[in-house]
């Protein structure tokens, strides 16, 4: 009996360490594969530039690095970065809040939404970017018009996704909550919204690039600060390296926002199986 217990304990340890080792191994492999890919890309770029393709058009990683340094030296970069970050964050937040409020209204006034939906879809179909010049006319040259455009783009994609999610909520689950005595607002809070979380998160993911597109396009059209302005200005001065350096700044913004969304995702969807891990554990 004693021996058997010891053996089982040993077996358990083995499975646990093996699984952990696999996780670690997989994470490491992926990390190095990605790093390798990135480095090869930069290397190839550096090699092609000036030898095969005119570096006037594509610059080169080293030159971009130099521009980047220059950009930081003046301190002006912080103004541009902060301006765009501000527009993106406010636009994203406003768009997401608007989408959530819209979604709750759709739940409550289902029939009314069904009436207006075709108009909504039609609006969704026209490129909202086309509104940018009008928005600037209405809201001025400052950051308000950029925030609005950014928010508008985010709103549509999050709203449409969440509404699709609400449509998918299992009728049976709602009925069972009703029978258990749930009021309308309780059911929205405990059933419908949590059930649409995965869609909401998917909407957030799609919303990140939208928020940035809105801010940047707004800045392209008219602005005197912001990363979009920087790109525009650098290109018109034929300073390819600076333009790429500014795009790199955008990349930082994207990575930061995606990181935040991933955090929210992990928090909201604790109950969902973590795909890769579960796959590994179940094959043991």
């Amino acid at each position: 009996m004693q021996a058997r217990l010891a053996r089982e304990e040993q077996l358990r340890r083995m499975v646990e360490t093996n699984t952990q080792a696999r996780h670690r191994h997989k994470r490491l492999t992926f990390f190095w594969a990605r790093t390798g890919l990135l480095l090869s890309f930069l290397l190839l770029w550096e090699l092609l530039s000036g030898r095969v393709i005119d570096s006037f058009f594509i610059s080169s990683p080293l030159k971009i690095g130099a521009s980047f340094e220059e950009l930081f030296q003046g301190g002006k970069v912080f103004l541009h970065f902060a301006t765009t970050l501000n527009e993106v964050l406010l636009g994203f937040t406003a768009g997401v809040l608007g989408a959530l409020i819209g979604a709750v209204l759709v739940i409550i006034f289902r029939d009314a939404y069904d009436v207006v939906e075709p108009f909504f879809i039609a609006l969704y179909g026209i490129p909202r970017i086309a509104l940018a010049p009008l928005l600037i006319m209405w809201l001025g040259l400052g950051i308000k018009s950029k925030i609005f455009l950014s928010g508008l783009l985010v709103f549509f994609v999050v709203f449409m996704t969440v509404v699709a999610g609400i449509r998918m909520v299992d009728e049976g689950v709602i009925n069972s909550a009703r029978l258990m005595g749930g009021s309308r607002s309780q059911i929205i809070r405990t059933v419908i919204l949590p059930a649409s979380y995965p869609y909401f998160v998917a909407g957030l993911r799609m919303g990140v690039p939208m928020a940035i597109i809105g801010a940047i396009v707004g800045e392209f059209i008219s602005a005197n600060r912001g990363i979009g302005f920087l790109i525009q200005w650098a290109s018109s001065a034929f300073n390819t390296s600076l333009a790429f350096a500014a795009i790199f700044l955008l990349l930082i913004l994207v990575v930061g926002l995606n990181f935040a969304v991933n955090k929210a995702d992990a928090h909201l969807l604790k109950w969902r199986p973590k795909n890769s891990e579960e796959r590994i554990t179940t094959t043991m």
Binding site: N175, T190, K270
Partner: protein
Amino acid sequence: MPPEPVFTIKDVYKIFYTPDRRDQRSTFAVRGVSLDIYPGTFVTFVGPSGCGKSTLLNMMSGLTFPSDGQILFRGQPIRKTNYQIGYITQHDNLLPWRTLLGNVQLALEYRGVPKPEREERARALINKVGLSGFESYYPRELSGGMRQRANLIRTLVYDPEVILMDEPFGALDAQTRLVLQDELLKLWSGSGKTIVFVTHDLVESIALSDQIVVFTQSPGEIKAIYDVPLKRPRDVFHIHKSEGFTETYDRVWVDLQQVLARAGLVKTGDGAAVQKGG
């Protein structure tokens, strides 16, 4: 004088019509059903699938309404969702984003029961059905039998006097099903609750109920109603050895066999084996 029925079903019809399906005409799901269900009794509905059992339960719970006829709950026609009953559906409907404890507490949360009390009541029931230790598990981490237990107690936790159960053990293996039947009878006995339980298993319906209602294959009528004379408390594990089991089985089987034969599910004259298995 007999007590007032919990449910009075009076000549109820239900017609489903889905205009989008062009080739499909309207169907009768329930046709001319009349039935009284008395307080404290355990009634089972037996019949082939598609004969309108679930539709009847949906009408008794106020999720849908009769096309014609009337269903009274304690003498009052059902006009909206019937909150005074518990309804355990075939599909477990647990919320995947809530733990076992969170799921079992849900109905109490809806009722505004304070947190310490609702946790205590939920934990008591979780213990009672042998799920302690799994409080913080999500539904996907529970086995089929455990989920069905959870489904059962999330309704029992708010103590409804009337419970409708739609093939709650249908998807379980034979052993788990027996264990849950036993647990259900223990939870029910002495509680005075009225239970309406849908099953397609004749043995299960004899083991559990006071009364068996046999439905015919569409058009969804009642074929016959039988009283089950078996003494309580019952031993579901040896129910086939109970006094009166064989007689009841044979009596009900005659009708059920005809129904199944008409549905093309069994040949007349040699059906017993089929039914016992399923």
